[in-house]
């Protein structure tokens, strides 16, 4: 079949960028990676990209197609060609570009190394045989263990775009791999590490990482698990944690979120005073309901009773986060009625990402 691609070429020495179009012939079973190979072999040997296994396990070929991160070896070209679409290929986001589709993974690995990415079993002399761990215990980190370190999640992370020091979905998912491992002794220090300024509470919950991950790791859920474990262990000094806890209290007392008290309860009186001007502007519009007669949900005592009942059952922390343990969540897709899949030509990503440092 005839395949057309546009690739954002970036010069390795000068950093100059240019959008180039390529038209090649490729077999029907070709994935994006196969097409890149054909271009590099037969048309332009200077095209730079990483590849190795071509079976979605090594994590080398992360790149963007139409502005969203994918593994080149996983994207079949036939459906794209049949739609008559010419995709735009560029390098992953949030990472410095080396050349063409090759990014420097140094910031990525620096963040991995910063979370102490090895098991701390709490002993120096290993026992003679394996430690006894149940399959159920190991399943707690089944998803985190799938991570191939490809960078697709990091590429798309909205929080990291705004805060480049955010530890990011990959490093946090890796941290959860250890926090959730029954054999790792080090939970509280680990949790303290990721409860810092650029840690779990910096996550904006955009779910891009879950959406982009080619292996079904669901890093956002791993971050939620870390948050849950942190609060369970009483690590709640962060404003984000306080904010989350206030939601719980709100729901138990009135059923609905008491926004007026959200700021003073999470940020303290001083913090609230700083926001006074802002708050007044909001209050004038009724955006911040005045303290006073509280809107209480009907039958809110049921919620309170549920809270007490559920707490007594002890499915706290990461264990409480249900992920749907069955297999690859990405492939088990919930198709709602009326889902629209064939869409007209709207191509976000045709404009190149802003030049990064």
């Amino acid at each position: 079949m005839d395949v057309a691609l546009k690739i954002w070429r970036v010069d390795g020495e000068t950093g100059e960028r240019e959008l180039k179009t390529y038209e090649v012939e490729a077999p029907e079973w070709a994935c994006l990676l196969d097409v890149l190979d054909i271009i590099k072999d037969r048309h332009d040997g200077t095209l730079a990209y990483r590849k190795s296994c071509r079976m979605m396990i090594c994590g080398s070929c992360g790149m963007r197609m139409d502005g969203r991160a994918i593994l080149a070896c996983k994207e079949r070209m036939k459906p794209i060609v049949e739609r008559g679409h010419v995709p735009v290929i560029s390098s992953m986001g949030n990472l410095p570009i080396v050349k063409d589709l090759v990014v420097s993974m140094d910031p990525f690995w620096d963040k991995i190394r910063a979370i102490k990415p090895w098991l701390d079993p709490g002993y120096d002399e290993a026992p003679e045989r394996e430690r006894i761990v149940s399959q159920k215990e190991m399943n707690v980190i089944a998803k985190e263990s799938l991570c191939i370190m490809c960078g697709c999640c990091v590429s798309e992370c909205n929080a990291m775009e705004a805060d480049p020091d955010f530890r990011g979905p990959a490093a946090l998912a890796k941290e959860m791999r250890f926090v959730g491992d029954a054999r790792d002794q080090d939970d509280v220090p680990r949790l303290n590490t990721v409860n810092d300024e650029h840690g779990v509470w910096d996550c904006t919950r955009c779910y891009f990482c879950n959406e982009r991950c080619p292996k079904g790791v669901d890093p956002r859920d791993a971050i939620a698990k870390l948050g849950a474990e942190s609060i369970k262990q009483g690590i709640d000094h962060d404003l984000g944690a306080k904010h989350a806890r206030w939601f719980v209290i709100s729901s138990k007392t009135t059923g609905w979120l008491r926004e007026t008290e959200l700021v003073p309860k999470t940020q303290g009186i001083l913090g609230a005073l700083k926001e006074t001007k802002f708050a007044i502007a909001l209050a004038r519009r009724g955006k911040v309901p005045p303290p006073g007669p509280v809107h209480v949900a009907a039958e809110v005592d049921e919620a309170r009773a549920l809270y007490d009942l559920v707490k007594s059952q002890g499915r706290d922390g990461a264990l409480g986060i249900v992920q749907g343990e069955r297999g690859l969540a990405r492939i088990e897709h919930v198709e709602a009625e009326g889902a629209h899949r064939d869409v007209p030509e709207v191509t976000p990503g045709e404009t190149p990402p802003p030049a990064e440092g």
Partner: protein, 293 residues
């Protein structure tokens, strides 16, 4: 059609305009709202993180009461509620053991058991389903007179697509089609599916504002007259926090932000008392002027 109506926290309090415009608009679209009152906050990402098991039960309770009304559909008007309820629904429907335990707990506190027999849908989807657009053209008889509207989807009505799946999460077009059907001009821009920053706007204001800048800036530069969003939390960010964005960047943003129900509502000729535009922080007057309302 009759739906169980779950309005969520913001529509009850700080975004009353969303509730009033929804309640006024729905009948015009042949949607009868059976409002649930014995329900609580869905917990957002916060209770999901702080007390995950409790979050599951709160949402199961909402679903149970929704199913009790006899309706097939539980209608939401907020992205976050939609994701939370659909996530809980998916977990309960697919895991018999889990559902059994949760139901036992629900029944202990006097809530009916939930059998997985209700579907959660955002108002946006109900409008966009089937021949929704055609019906819309008739309802929105006053029209938007070519008003340039930039749609802002936000995150949690698109992602994770395995739980939402109404439309392509990277190329959604329901809002554009609605804008079109109402006689407006849909403005395209890349950040329409990115995050407004609301979940961290208090804990990490700097980061959130860095995110918020993108849709506001891009929509402004693309010449939009207004933005529309299906999520009241995004609305809060885009509207109420726009002043902070002005402060931070020194740029004079004045982008009116409309709830979806207001956008269709104003084109359908809803009353001022139903639309409640005065509750917005960024004045909607320029839009009303353009529409000669």
């Amino acid at each position: 059609m009759k739906v169980a109506y779950y309005k969520g926290c913001l529509a009850s309090l700080s975004a009353k305009e969303l509730d009033s415009s929804t309640q006024a608009l729905a009948p015009k679209l042949d949607i009868e709202l059976d409002e649930l009152d014995a329900v609580t906050c869905c917990g957002a990402g916060d209770i999901h993180e702080a007390e995950p098991d409790y979050y599951l039960h709160l949402n199961a309770r909402i679903l149970a009461y929704g199913a009790e009304t006899g309706a097939d559909t539980l209608m939401t008007i907020c992205n976050v509620c939609t994701l939370n309820l659909r996530q809980a629904n998916w977990q309960l429907k697919n895991d018999d053991e889990l559902r059994e335990r949760v139901n036992k707990n629900l029944q202990t506190v006097g809530v009916p058991a939930y059998d997985g027999n209700i579907e959660v849908k955002h108002f946006l989807w109900l409008i966009a389903e089937g021949d929704g657009y055609e019906r819309l053209k008739q309802v929105a008889h006053k029209g938007l007179k070519g008003l340039k509207v930039a749609p802002f989807y936000g995150c949690q009505i698109l992602r994770p697509s395995k739980l939402l799946g109404f439309e392509d999460p990277d190329k959604p077009h329901s809002l554009e089609a609605i804008i079109d059907a109402c006689g407006g001009e849909a403005i395209d821009y890349p950040a329409k599916i990115k995050c407004c920053g609301f979940p961290i706007i208090q804990a990490r204001e700097d980061t959130a504002l860095g995110e918020l800048l993108q849709p506001i800036e891009q929509a402004t530069e693309a010449g939009a007259d207004a933005m529309v969003t299906p999520c009241p939390l995004c609305h809060l960010s885009l509207d109420a926090w726009q002043s902070k964005l002005r402060e931070r960047t020194g740029r004079d943003f004045h982008m009116p932000i409309l709830h979806l129900s207001q956008l269709i509502g104003v084109a359908a000729g809803l009353e001022d008392s139903e639309l409640k535009f005065k509750r917005h922080v960024v004045s909607v007057q320029p839009v009303l002027d353009k529409l000669e309302v």
